[in-house]
Amino acid sequence: MVFTSTAFLAFYAAVFTLYWLLSRAPRARQLQNALLLVGSYYFYGFVHPWFCLLIASSTVVDYACGLAMGRFPRARHAWLVVSLAFNLGLLGVFKYYDFFAKSFADAAGLFGWELQPIELLLVLPVGISFYTFQTLSYTIDVYRGQLQPRRNLFDFAVFVSFFPQLVAGPIERASRFLPQLEQVRRWSWAALFPALELIVGGYLKKLVVADNVGTYVDEIFELQAPTLALLAVGTLGFAVQIYADFSAYTDIARGIAKLLGFDLIRNFRSPYLAVSPSDFWRRWHISFSSWIRDYLYIPLGGSRVRTPLGFLGVLLVSLGLSGLWHGAAWNFVLWGVYHALLVFAYHQLKLGGRWEPRSRPSRAISISVMFVWTLLGWLLFRTGDIAWLGGALRHSPVGMSGVDGSAAAYTLALVLLYSSPMAVQGLVERLPSAAASSLGAFLRGAFLAAALVAITLFAGDGSNDFIYFRF
């Protein structure tokens, strides 16, 4: 079920109504959690009911591992291995097996060995990368003694399957989300307006910005030999599309969770205003990048390593795997490696970590330079075919004149047209909040209505899936 479908709106209306009706019942918290659990499994199994078996098995294994770690602390290492092996095993089979089998056969072919890879051709269960990381954060935190193992299986199952953020995040931490599930939730009128702003703003970004810009981006990336000017416009468009698409999902998820009394982690913080690669990763897909930092980068010694080569090694592993998390394809791995090299280079130039420019002009220059690096990264990310990209970069004319120049200008104009709602949204968010003044309420009410009008007019006939569903 996707947020942009009518089925989801009907489903959410039913869950929302029942959820708050139950708040008046005795044992309200348990009943509300039970409703969330049933609703989440219905949401997840709406198209492929067997997906529910996978998430249920992950839930039961990690619940049992958590309990076992609490009961047998000396054997907790073994239970962590069980949890890691099971969850990463599922991910490996469903997401990566075919990729590695094919890559292995291709590599063998280079040495003259003809291998026929045995491919499983399994359907990738949506959200498996997200909930696997979410549930792993629980077992690792319990292993580290940072979290008490939970005894209530149902609460834990809701944590793993909570439908607003199940299929495309944000990836919640157990230490942050489980306490919210264990508390009584009360309806708050104060949360209504901010939640509506997140939801309507999310739909605006997805249906008006991302889907429309994506149409033109696809046109360019499907050409045999786009000019460099067109490729640049296509990459800029993709930067807008992926940010609008992904942050839209997060905003809608946060908005609908807020209406149910939950506060989900913020996933983006103006990522294209980053001044350095490290800064970019503190602003982009924050719930994922902080997961990688806490459970991979730091354990690998990223914060302690002394030698440049060691540091580079940790970065390559952490960010290379981050790339691979996005998809079983070499372009994603390259994207991760590219970011690792960027972080390393900035670090060697003493511009890494928490470095900040000292003056406004130097900040503007830093942001512009970093944005160009980010665009080059997106070019790798968007291109499914590295050979095509190599050919396009080697052989394409610059193409600033004639029909190619006109087509590039035309596409740029459309990308800017459909990006403009995000700029307006950015301005509106700087206005006083609706709770602060009547003028703020008036302007924000006007913006919400304008967003709904824009959605009515500019949303396509059938919305595309959110990009991060593929991951």
Partner: protein, 376 residues
């Protein structure tokens, strides 16, 4: 971009009710403004645009309306369909081969909404009506009434509208909408003019404004875009925009023939032809699947391997029950892949001649069979 939920909440000025009313006032002003700008809502969802370019008839005239062609030629056989049929069919050669007066009433870009209107408002209304009406289609096109009915295609549909068309409104424009969208589309002018507004805004930005900045006319801008994004400049493995949309139809929930049939124009087209004394003949065209789906069916996705054949069997059973014959070229190996100019269309040279011969042969055999059945 900042997070709207992270604003520091200062001491509120005025009461909560005042702020709610202020928010509502802002919203109402915007909606009222949009409604006013879009003008009054239309009672019917149809518009007329006589500026649509048309094709040349056999007397060398352009833009000759179908009703005039029908009145002048009084054909015994008419052929209806989209450019898929138009590219494959040679009216003069067909007429010669079957020995009957024939008329090509194909419309480029058309789909079942247009075919329904052409049959209802032109062919069945002709005096005398033709004896046979051959309607060409492929895959599930007969039962997807909303396909190519809106946006740029609306002008094509509207050309064959003579008055209120409640069935067209319901099936092509409103049937797929949820209750909210339905109400908006029915009664709210901005939603009704959605396609028009989007085309105007996009047209202004991409052709007028950008053209002005670059010193080109809007037509030059459009021509440049047509050249750069032409199908032959695409990677061969990629679907074109139109093919992607068509493929989406072939992959979607469109294969349940029994549930799609009542929501399609097909039963009405069958009824109208029967009541007008016209023998409707359906003609299933051969598609060349895109390079991503080699024509060997074993490589097709499940939808094409399993669902489409199931749909086709159900369609055939329905047509048999309604005594509507089917000329099926969809798997005809006499139409080689070299005949295709692209994924949908045959080339207008060798293929057109060849296909018209195949059609004539099949049609004559059908006529003989129908005549024999009548005698029996």
């Amino acid at each position: 971009m900042t997070d709207p939920t992270n604003h520091r909440i200062s001491e509120p000025a005025g009461s909560a009710t005042a702020r709610v009313l202020a928010g509502l006032a802002g919203a109402v002003i915007v909606v009222a403004g949009a409604t006013f700008a879009a003008g009054p809502p239309r009672k019917e969802l149809i518009t007329h645009d006589d500026a649509l370019p048309y094709r040349t008839d056999r007397k060398g005239r352009t833009d000759t309306p179908f009703e005039i062609l029908l009145a002048e030629q009084k054909p015994e056989v008419v052929v209806v369909g989209s450019s898929i049929v138009a590219c494959a069919f040679d009216e003069a050669a067909f007429e010669k081969q079957i020995g009957m007066e024939a008329l090509d009433l194909t419309v480029a870009g058309s789909m079942s909404a247009t075919w329904y209107l052409v049959i209802k408002n032109r062919i069945a209304a002709a005096n005398p009506p033709p004896k046979y009406c051959i309607l060409g289609f492929r895959d599930t096109y007969l039962t997807v009434p909303e396909y190519r009915a809106d946006g740029g295609y609306k002008q094509i549909v509207d050309r064959y509208v003579d008055g209120p068309e409640p069935l067209l409104d319901r099936l092509a424009y409103l049937s797929d909408l949820g209750p909210l969208e339905y109400t908006l589309r029915r009664y709210w002018a901005p939603a009704q003019r959605k396609s028009e507004i989007v085309e105007r805004v996009e047209g202004f930005v991409k052709a007028d404004a950008t053209g002005f900045l670059l010193g080109h006319s809007p037509d030059e801008m459009r021509a440049a875009v047509d050249v750069v994004f032409a199908d032959d400049r695409k990677q061969p493995s990629k679907l074109t925009k139109k093919q992607r949309r068509a493929a989406k139809l072939a992959m979607g929930n469109y294969f349940d023939f029994e549930s799609e049939l009542p929501e399609s124009f097909l039963p009405e087209m069958v009824r109208i032809c029967r009541e007008a004394g016209i023998q409707l003949v359906l003609m299933r065209m051969r598609p060349r699947r895109n390079a991503e789906f080699p024509d060997d069916r074993s490589h097709f996705p499940t939808a094409l391997k399993v669902d489409l054949p199931r749909y086709e069997r159900a369609l055939e059973a329905y047509l048999a029950s309604e005594s509507v014959p089917l000329l099926d070229f969809s798997e005809d190996d006499r139409i080689p892949f070299e005949w295709f100019a692209n994924g949908d269309h045959l080339n207008r040279e060798e293929a057109r001649v060849g296909f018209t011969e195949l059609l004539s042969e099949a049609f004559l055999a059908l006529v003989a069979r129908l005549e024999a059945q009548k005698k029996d």
